[in-house]
């Protein structure tokens, strides 16, 4: 009895914050999506009108498209690079720990500041990238004002920022694979490429699942770099879901409609996450603990 009271006293502050600022808003967003609200007056009920608007809204579909494109640009590049770095560091190396820290440094950078730095680095006339390209005789494009290049450049900020961080988890996963398995494989004559695809990769699945799930959820919510680098442009070629929701709510004052949009994003993230869990569950049968 006494223990229960103490426990509730200990969790009371977090529980209050959780209910007031997380749980109620999550429930509230479903309610708000049935209302029309301009952020200033009182919301009034409109039923499913926001969802009907959404189905015919070209802007919403475009934002969804762009978000998926951003995720697809990000995740494979980031994961493959992180895996290569993790494999390189998963051996006794002089200076391995120093490299590990250096690779993680981008993770803590402020995306707003990175957006500014990247805009400068990819500037068509004064940017480092086009200067380097000029050295090998290539005329670089107008990166951020080119419809085809703007999104890959924005995605490259995220790849730069999260590759090292992702590497940390994969490295921890690699280090958890028992050495005896590799020794047994060597006796059976399994080496090189085969060893990687038949042993390392399958045994890395739990870490891979964690990394993919968290990175995909994060990527779906890109906002800061878009806000600073392109404001969704050129045209609406880099308008992602989060940016579109922000525009609808805080520039056009359609907060009810923005709530409906954020529910769509939420459901999409849930579906993608569920798919990842199902895919990995079917294929993960190893447990060393």
């Amino acid at each position: 009895m006494r223990e229960s009271i103490e426990a509730y006293l200990l969790i009371a502050p977090s529980l209050f914050g959780f209910v007031a600022f997380l749980l109620l808003p999550i429930i509230g967003v479903f309610v708000l999506s049935l209302f029309s609200w301009d952020l200033i007056g009182d919301p009034h009920f409109v039923g499913l009108a926001n969802y009907r608007t959404l189905a015919g809204d070209h802007g919403a579909w475009n934002a969804l498209d762009n978000t998926l494109y951003y995720v697809l640009l990000n995740i494979p590049a980031q994961t493959v690079l992180a895996l290569l770095l993790a494999i390189a560091l998963n051996r006794k190396l002089r200076g391995g720990k120093v490299f590990r820290v250096l690779f993680v440094l981008p993770w803590m950078a402020m995306p707003v500041a990175l957006g500014i730095v990247w805009t400068w680095v990819f500037d068509p006339r004064n940017g480092v990238v086009n200067h380097l390209l000029a050295l090998v005789g290539v005329a670089g494009p107008n990166w951020l004002t080119d419809k085809g290049w703007a999104m890959p450049v924005i995605a490259s900020v995220n790849v730069w920022q999260y590759t090292g961080y992702t590497m940390l988890f994969l490295l921890a996963g690699l280090q958890a694979i028992p050495q005896t398995i590799y020794e047994a494989a060597e006796v059976d004559g399994v080496t090189g490429v085969q060893r990687f695809f038949r042993i390392t990769l399958p045994l890395l699945r739990p870490s891979m699942l964690f990394v993919l799930v968290t990175n995909v959820i994060g990527s779906f919510q890109v906002f800061d770099t878009v806000y600073v680098m392109t404001q969704g442009g050129p045209g609406d070629s880099t308008t992602t879901m989060n940016f579109y929701i922000y525009q609808q709510a805080f520039q056009l004052f359609h907060a009810g409609y923005a709530s409906a949009l954020s529910i769509v994003l939420f459901v999409l993230i849930l579906l993608v996450t569920a798919c990842q869990f199902l895919y990995f569950r079917k294929r993960t049968v190893y447990d060393f603990s």
């Binding site: 999550i26 500041a113 959820i217």
Partner: protein, 274 residues
Amino acid sequence: MTTRLLRRCLLYLALVLGAVVSVAPYLMTLNSSFKDTHRIFATQAWTPAVPPTFANFTQLWGKYQMSGFLLHTLLVAVVITVGQVTFCTFSAYAFARLKFPGRDLLFAVFIATMMVPQIVTLIPLFLVMSKLGLVDSYAALILPTVFGTPFGIFLVRQYLRTIPADLEAAARIDGAGTWTILWRIILPLSRPIMATLATVTFISSWNNLLWPLMVTDSERITVLTVGISALQGQFASQLNIVLTASALALLPLIAVFLTFQRHIVRSIALTGLK
């Protein structure tokens, strides 16, 4: 033997290249903050700023309210960090060690919300803040996360579960209450995870743009992210100013990280494993 040596060299070359790419944007930005407009356009990003000029910093301080942005951000981040570490540790201890009705259900609900994208809660949160009359105040910036987050509670709980329970059992037999155990046993043993949570929280509040952008608009509480993106919007062509501001936003976090780096690298990897 020579092929092994060659492979070693290639490996190091790849690692050094990766390290250069990781660090170069920081160094180029810092370097440029000591150049005037003319030299930023006339020289390469990697040309050293010799002799350095400090005019960008004095301008940012005098003309662009940079000291205000830094101060507001620091205040918000410190208050949130202290609250997070305190309240997450309290909750995490209760969830990890005490028995109480509804514990597992409550913990499951906490964890489930970790998957909810931030944007989902922000519009209703704005409604809450406007009903409470808190829009455009420090309270609006601080309240949503100061009481702890599911991620923080999860992180500390995972760590506390690795501390042997015998220690506490022995202390309880000696008559120690929950508070004494928390203060005398748990706190000293969980310093590494508290350092990690503090750093992660500080970094994410320092870097947070979306919520401050929504809920504040007066200069007396403008935080760094909002201030800097406004600078970029208005003075994008004054590269020396916006890059110096970026350097000031980027570099303090590196100092914070390097201070606690040993704990963090290990703890971050821990959360992913189990």
